[in-house]
Symmetry: C2
Subunit: 248 residues, 2 copies
DNA sequence: AGTATAGATTTAACTGGACAAATTGCGAGC
DNA sequence: GCTCGCAATTTGTCCAGTTAAATCTATACT
């Protein structure tokens, strides 16, 4: 690498591979700081630009975190992902058109049982605000697309009562109210026999197969909202996703 | 921008914002090529490094595609994603531990009906290789985790016959055989009543709710493999995903 | 012991320059 | 009209250098 660059592999890519290998083999374990850019320039006899190209890609891989004044700290030992699925809009995530209408049926305080508590990130015995609603294509549509059961922490009960009039996704309004960004969304999907109230709302026979999608939107302080969305089975509702190779 | 940089906003970020605005407002529509780096350096009176930082981020946003020798072509007018879900391994994607065992029950040539053809990216009337298999935790396990029905183009029939002995994911082996990278994965999930052969294999009553996940792995030439995975309903199989805000 | 400040260190932003590699368009030849 | 080769153009890789901004550590003061 003190000589001419190999015609095929850029120098930064060679250095990147070496650094990846050293992280993976434990030379630099999680928590360790890599040598500084200046030290790496000396070690590999290349310009700072070349080192920065390698380090930039290590950061993009999620392997290091680069901090001005501090250095490059290892945060994981393997690349962060293989496939990636990008959701470009709320309607991509929920698979409703953005102008669907949520009609609230009831709002009440409920004490969480163990099962629900575990799923929504609360604790058994806690009191949360429970909202049952029907989702339709628009205000005047007769057909129910989905039954939606949401749990919101008690401190947001007031906001939950206004859910029909909120424009944009409710999780964004809750994020604003909490003054915290949504940090992640957990999603669980399973096939279930339709409970009585779901079968009735969706016009199904009792115990017909339905797809239930639970989504939990969390900030640093915990769950802001968790919703159970009950959809018809078969071709009446197909949850689609498109993944691409991660270009990291 | 010919003067001192604003203390807060890097110059490349200002240029990025301007270029984003010009793309969004139609000055550069999808398909158009942005001015060259050299022209942008002249326009904004900055060095090529600064322009490249802006363009690099436009590419990372998914807004342009930069091609050596050709320029930066606009491929979309808005940033590509809001939420992102990363799959770090095959087991993340399929939600099987990596050492599960696939036991082939039958392999045959089938002529595609319209419905299946549409789902798997083939054409009605085409002959594909059909593989029916059972997935178990390991070779000696008695319990069937899932019923797997796969469709593979006829040209890969030989490889399909060796599916039990392939180490690593079958789609990677097919990608090698085709000498093409997997470009994307389409996934469809729906709740269905268990067909007879699925109910029998999973030990369910006829018409019990099951979750069917179809995954289609495609290269530029088309579908390399499409598999229908039939899972038990209820808490016996929960398909989980974790999404984070896209740091784009 | 706790806090503030100064200096050293490290990465971020930026300049100007060079050569290599890939693409595109044009002209010539068949 | 089609194909091939060459030149112009554009982005990729890389160098050497500078100043700015952020972090960390050590020292001094209360």
């Amino acid at each position: 690498m003190g000589s001419e660059p190999a015609s095929r592999t850029p120098r930064y890519a060679e250095i990147l591979a070496i650094l990846r290998g050293e992280v993976a083999s434990g030379v630099f374990p999680v928590g360790a700081t890599l040598p500084s850019e200046a030290e790496l320039c000396q070690r590999f006899s290349v310009s700072r630009f070349t080192i920065r190209e390698a380090l930039r890609r290590l950061q993009s891989d999620g392997i290091v975190m680069r901090v001005q004044g501090a250095g490059s700290r290892v945060v994981r030992t393997t690349p962060a992902s293989v496939f990636v699925q990008r959701y470009r809009s709320v309607s991509d995530l929920t698979q409703y058109a953005e102008d669907t209408h949520l009609e609230v049926q009831s709002i009440s305080d409920v004490e969480l049982g163990e099962g629900v508590a575990r799923q929504i990130g609360g604790a058994a015995g806690e009191t949360w605000c429970y909202v049952r609603a029907l989702r339709r294509a628009d205000v005047s549509a007769a057909e129910v697309l989905a039954v939606v059961e949401s749990y919101v922490p008690r401190r947001f009960a007031k906001l939950a009562r206004e859910v029909e009039s909120i424009s944009g996704p409710i999780y964004a309004a809750l994020s604003s109210a909490a003054r915290e960004p949504i940090e992640n969304v957990e999603q669980e999907m399973q096939a279930l026999p339709a409970p009585v109230h779901v079968a009735a709302a969706l016009g199904l026979t009792a115990d017909a197969p339905v797809l239930r999608i639970m989504r939990r939107y969390s900030a640093a302080s915990g769950t802001l909202i968790a919703s159970f969305n009950w959809h018809r089975g078969g071709d009446r509702y197909i949850h689609r996703a498109s993944l691409s190779l991660d270009a990291g």
